[in-house]
Subunit: 495 residues, 2 copies
């Protein structure tokens, strides 16, 4: 794994699909070295059949650009790859080009923690087409999963109604930096802490934990185990009650809580990790209250997600905090955002006019949006977002209407609201233009954005649709290109 | 991300849940430093409602042990973690203990690529209880996901009936080493290649790729783009046909294939990435055959998995190879194996007798298996595996019967078959005892094991059950412990 061989993991330029490199060679050979491109990453549907997504991962893009170099060792490896029909896949001169390669892209992205909707740029990349192409896989690898986790967490946090959520998912993540991505993105999405100690060290996220069943099984009796844990952790004592029998576990925990009181300490909480959590937490709450231990909190875990947490509260379960693991770290039941990275405009050389381009499909929802896109988010007077407009300045009609990207007969009218630009530039010609926000800032941005979002859009079942459309000039451009491409199977060079 | 800061990613000891460290401190404070433990990692159900799993990840355990040290930087971070109710979470003397810590575990595991079934040890760890506990999260993080991916791939490869599968999943993986884990495990599970170039460099896996839609959109027409790609990649030319219109794409590809023939080259293949793959690949096959281009292969991609591939062949789709991405890298629809790591025996000090322990639950399927377990796999005379027996040598009755772990009224009779031991020792007292197999060996082991497995067990829908049971002595031990624990909520110290 990467974790055990750091000399290899620093190879960010190779964290890519092979075709990015073969296309780069093709562009280089075909004389497109000066061709400029504009690419957008976006997703086509909100994850989890929900009403929104939380943008995440963008704060690490500038690091990726800084580290994007082809080392001698990397070049040696590329030179060793055979072509299927014989010979080497990469040409010597192209590899020398890569050896001296420096990223010259400019990048715009929404801030981390901001809400994002289908077809809006998660990132917009402009620069030499080779540079842009080489970033595709790494950018998607960085943002697809973190955006998904931040969104999942926002849903779980919404269900938890202000009660704390801790990320417990490391053991079910895809290796060490899968776990790091989960911890980082879930913190931005609203989790209070993580069990992942490495994430605590690297990102400064508060770390949290209790004990495992093995702790109880290591001692002759459960009572012995609870007493030993209370002695070791008098200021941080959370006892796990379900190793053998929860009913007996409650009694043993009350015994230890009383003993702690006698020595001036307080049992912080108990945790239940299996069985009927609604029933068992009520039983525990009643028993602790009757024993005069109403200050002891109740924590629950065991395959939780937004739906089980919502159900537990609907049943009146007296739970104070949640450990959420597997379904957070894997984003069950939708483990992929499905974000893609598509070319939207081409320029034969710097300074030439841009040609917008479009990708068509039998499936109309897969048709892309052309042009150099940015996003205007319209807010009402009380700061509630009313809808978004995707805009290409070169064809901007200055309208506050927005034409739906799927059903072009539908349009939205944002004339009563005030626009704010959503994308910000983070890299200019390969150099970062601003330091990324701290994860604390991203976290509070997400909290604020969710607080101002219409509850109907946050609903899990059949959420209301948040209006996103194309500024009419861009809608017309897309319509014209669609008609042209259907005829000619090529981009419109007559424009 | 880990990829950009390798000094932090080498911190394998911190790739863990906080409670492993707090429990370690608790064991240390409670005088259990000499206590020896036996832990097993296992899963409770086959993934994907299937009949088997493919063990994977074990080949990297010895690296983990080698790298398991607490650096000064790590200790400084741990010293900085506050306890929730004030003060430091970790005590100075315990941190000094960690600073001088060396792993003294011994480890047994099934070889990578071997088939594995519910409740069987994916790994067995013996040693000081602190050492064993500190490994929990890292071992699960290493094996849970890789075993899941290898199993998913084995299913996809089964559906593909000998046609090549390439891993295209990096952009949907959980960061760089998520992508590496996917590439490694899918290769062991039967994939022929990966698009992930870093995996090619690190693991020596063959790399494969074609081109993206952006290649086509970067040129004035699709025909221009195909010609440029053929010029750049004459020996490796795979053309992607669905940027604008597949029917026109087929015509353009045939034009280019004929031009390639005229200059002595051959178009290798075409790829279709959207639309009705069954219909479009048949249309393409017919058109290429009629043009005298029957040597041109057809590759398909677009959210494929074992079910879509099975359906494509059932419809007679003439597809020669598959790119499988999202659903391989995320193991959709079951993104987690759910493997756990449970204490099964305790020894007060080295040389003392072992006390087997058990974890109970309201849910009987969550009851663990006690003891020092290993696996006997019984083969018939033709090398077909008939079933497995989980054995604890200390209570072995020498029987060839096996008692089902869930329904103890059911037993299997393996008397007609020949047993082979499945687990092998890979670490002794913290030192590796054998070099891990190469991934090529693991891959061929997986292929052989699947070839000998009853097709009814490989079936996707309601697969036949592979018999796994407890050797009768172990079944009796488990029965006795269950009765005792239900009474006493503690382990049986009277044994």
């Amino acid at each position: 794994m990467a974790l055990t061989d750091h000399t290899e993991t620093t190879d960010v330029a190779l964290n890519t699909d092979l075709y990015e490199l073969t296309m780069a060679q093709g562009f280089w050979e075909s004389g497109l070295v000066d061709t400029q491109a504009c690419f957008n990453a976006f997703f086509r549907e909100n994850p989890f059949e929900g009403g929104y997504a939380v943008s995440c991962g963008q704060g690490q893009i500038a690091d990726l650009i800084d580290n994007f170099v082809f080392t001698d060792q990397t070049i040696d490896y590329l030179a060793s790859i055979p072509a299927p029909a014989g010979g080497a896949l990469f040409k010597h001169d192209f590899l020398e080009y890569l050896r001296n390669f420096h990223m010259h892209v400019s990048i715009w992205a929404p801030p981390e923690g901001e809400l994002l909707f289908p077809r809006e740029p998660m990132v917009r990349v402009e620069g030499p087409i080779i540079d842009c192409q080489l970033l595709e896989t790494a950018l998607l690898n960085l943002m697809n999963f973190q955006t998904l986790v931040a969104t999942k967490t926002a849903r779980v946090v919404t269900a938890a109604q202000g009660h704390a959520i801790s990320d417990f998912g490391l053991r079910r993540a895809q290796g060490p930096d899968g776990g790091l991505a989960v911890a980082r993105a879930s913190y931005i999405g609203g989790a209070s802490s993580t069990s992942n100690v490495l994430a605590g060290k690297i990102y400064g996220i508060p770390v949290f934990g209790t004990h495992a069943h093995s702790w109880v099984m290591a001692f002759p009796t459960e009572l012995d185990a609870f007493r030993a844990f209370a002695r070791s952790m008098p200021k941080n004592c959370v006892l796990l009650l379900d190793t053998y029998d929860v009913h007996q576990g409650i009694k043993n925990a009350i015994t230890v809580a009383k003993e702690m009181e006698a020595s001036g300490e307080h049992l912080a909480a108990i945790r239940i990790d299996s069985g009927d959590l609604a029933k068992l937490t009520k039983e525990a709450r009643t028993a602790f209250d009757q024993a005069g231990l109403s200050y002891v909190k109740i924590s629950a875990s065991n395959d939780l997600d937004e739906y089980t947490i919502q159900s537990l509260f609907a049943q009146g379960a007296p739970i104070d905090s949640f450990g959420v693991g597997t379904k957070l770290a894997t984003c069950d039941p939708q483990p992929s955002l499905g974000g893609v990275y598509k070319l939207s405009a081409v320029q034969d050389a710097p300074g030439e006019p841009w040609s917008p381009v479009i990708k068509l499909s039998e499936m109309s929802y897969k048709r892309t949006i052309p042009g150099i896109q940015h996003i205007r988010r319209y807010y009402d007077a009380s700061g509630i977002p009313m809808g978004d407009q995707i805009v290409d300045d070169s064809v901007d009609q200055g309208s506050t209407d927005a034409i739906d990207a799927v059903d072009s007969m539908v349009s939205y009218d944002f004339s009563s609201a005030k626009p704010t630009e959503l994308l910000e530039q983070i890299v200019c010609d390969g150099v970062r233009t601003k330091e990324p926000d701290s994860i604390e800032i991203a976290k509070s941005r997400c909290r604020d954005a969710l607080m101002h979002l219409d509850p109907a859009i946050k609903r899990f079942l059949n959420p209301q649709f948040y209006p996103v459309g194309l500024e009419p000039g861009l809608a017309k451009l897309r319509y014209d290109l669609t008609r042209f491409e259907r005829r000619g199977s090529g981009r419109d060079t007559t424009r």
